[in-house]
Symmetry: C2
Subunit: 339 residues, 2 copies
């Protein structure tokens, strides 16, 4: 199994070092190679995603991605490498699970939901222009039947496999803003409801994105699988993750046909970079997701059991109220794996 | 004072009837006229916002708007009347306050924030097209210097007046997605930071929209005034309102130059229409906002005091855990006003 590791910027390298340590313990046969991308890369070589990195990602069996620190101002020639990787590798399904199994108070509601985010189009196509006056900018949002239909299918298939694994009341919530984006989200909605008809075993509901964001914040226990377009999924998955211990624990899979990239949701976290206190557990959960995707179910379960033990008994990084370092948490996970 | 009332669809007429009753008590001189808009209007006359309604809204000193039930499917010729009113009357600032003053547990954090939402452009310009294949839809998102600069100014002015009224640490949070929408949100961000420089007395922070949604859900006490583009504001204000007793209490002002329209945030609520149990307090808070905007500060305070008393002692509608009707809550408010 060849794993391409792209640490990137900020705390990306810190948490991926931890993830690779764990990977080496549970999958000693993994061939790990490293490749460059991100803002530092752009400053060094003038391109944020060098062709060699794209090539390495293409050839690997799976990619582990850290984080990139995109500048907020418009730098000519710069394009977010993670957005580019998703498109270039056609990783069309961004799978973002949230569970409160580790945080739940005994009588609290059970949160176990997945945001399934379309990952290749929407507002992320990079088609923007400044009109002649320089004072009017237009961005295009693209919704296609093809991308909508495959992401909605991915959502229903996921709901079905969760139901097969014991999840009650399997439901897909189709999230859109078709009352305003009547043509584009109208298309997404129409396609989604067509596909829903192929899954009579799954309950379908639809929700406007503003209402969905509110309900995810307030009543996450009412969701199973929510499927939506790219930018809405970006926002909704961040809202959802507060119920699962926050960004420090949120992991995601970017899946395409026979390809996959795993990344923690937290991003570069410039405020804590270099302090050695980044929570490595999201990156370690990425390793579990990667192993599961490669059908190494036992290894995935070992990683999750070790991470759960550390979450329960400590040590914990500051984002979870502790004072442990990245290294200490990682070592604790590895110690549990050795038991 | 001429007030144009547009009840609309769903529970709009139910809650606006309550609001008008309250308005008549505290401003007996108000000339109230009613005008049609919405889905039922469209079905009757083929247009959702008849020209007479637009004319009446234009001539009034203020508009009270209920709700409209926009169809989710794309109906040729139908356009959301509230979106049209905002644009036609150039009501560029959508002001959406959330406070937990009525819900706070004694040792809980104080939530007192306002989402200031740009109201005339962004994804709401209605420029969408289906490409020839019928399987690709494009929506245009427009960001201009003019609209960005006036909404950001409105936010800073609001932060300043809140500071003058005693709010500590006045802060404006500029919310965007310039790491992806580098040109359009790049323009919004640049303009916003230029204007920020005119307000050295106000702290400025910037936040990506996904992070802002998460933080508004989890740490609303850290916000004062958040300013953002149209659709982001739509989503963020719904998230924020969970901390203020939910949609049943959320009111909003749509402000332009010398014009204003007030509307509850809850929408048509088809699930409870006709049951007589809609919470009228958001619409009644709209009356308070309207009076305040017309400098009738005493009358506004009387309405708020009465609403607060009812919120504290009941009766309460089902959304707040009670079992009272719209009529009972409204009568209780009016009884308090008479005291
Ligand atoms: C870093 C950024 C481009 C990215 C996105 O917007 O997709 C991030 O927010 C995410 O959720 O993965
Ligand atoms: C009804 C709809 C068009 C509207 C919007 O999207 O602005 C509503 O959600 C709101 O927030 O006022």
């Amino acid at each position: 199994m060849r794993v391409c590791v792209i640490p990137g910027d900020g705390i990306g390298p810190e948490v991926l070092a931890a993830a690779v340590q764990v990977l080496r313990v549970v999958a000693p046969d993994a061939e790990v190679s490293e490749a460059d991308a991100g803002w530092a890369t752009f400053q060094r070589v003038g391109v944020a995603l060098p062709p060699e990195t794209l090539g390495a990602a293409r050839e690997a069996d799976a990619v582990l991605f850290g984080a990139v620190a995109s500048p907020s101002h418009n730098v000519p020639g710069y394009r977010s490498p993670i957005v580019a990787l998703r498109r270039e590798l056609d990783l069309y399904a961004n799978i973002r699970p949230t569970s409160n199994a580790q945080q739940r108070s005994p009588d609290g509601p059970v949160v176990d939901l997945v945001v399934v985010r379309e990952n290749t189009e929407g507002m992320y196509i990079g088609r923007e222009r400044l009109e002649d006056d320089g004072d009017t900018a237009i961005a295009e949002r693209q919704i296609t039947r093809r991308a909508s239909s495959r992401i909605v299918r991915a959502a229903y298939d996921l709901a079905r496999s969760r139901a097969a694994a014991g999840k009650a009341n399997p439901t897909v919530t189709i999230v859109h803003k078709a009352n305003v984006l009547r043509v584009s989200d109208g298309l997404f909605r129409t396609v989604a409801l067509e596909i829903a008809a192929d899954y009579p075993d799954i309950r379908t509901e639809e929700m406007l994105v503003d209402v969905a964001a509110m309900r995810l914040a307030q009543h996450p226990e009412r969701f199973d699988v929510a499927v939506t377009t790219n930018l809405f999924g970006d926002i909704l998955s961040d809202v959802a993750c507060i119920h699962g211990g926050g960004l420090g624990l949120a992991a995601s899979a970017n899946l395409g046909e026979g390809r996959a990239l795993f990344e923690p949701v937290h991003g570069a976290a410039p405020d804590i970079v270099g302090k050695g206190i980044a929570n490595p557990l999201a990156a370690i959960e990425c390793v579990a997701m990667l192993l599961e995707w490669r059908h190494r179910v036992d290894a995935a379960q070992r990683v999750r059991a070790a991470a759960t033990a550390v979450l329960t008994h400590g040590p914990r990084t500051p984002d979870l109220g502790g004072s442990a370092t990245t290294a200490a948490v990682t070592q604790a996970v590895i110690d549990h794996l050795a038991q």
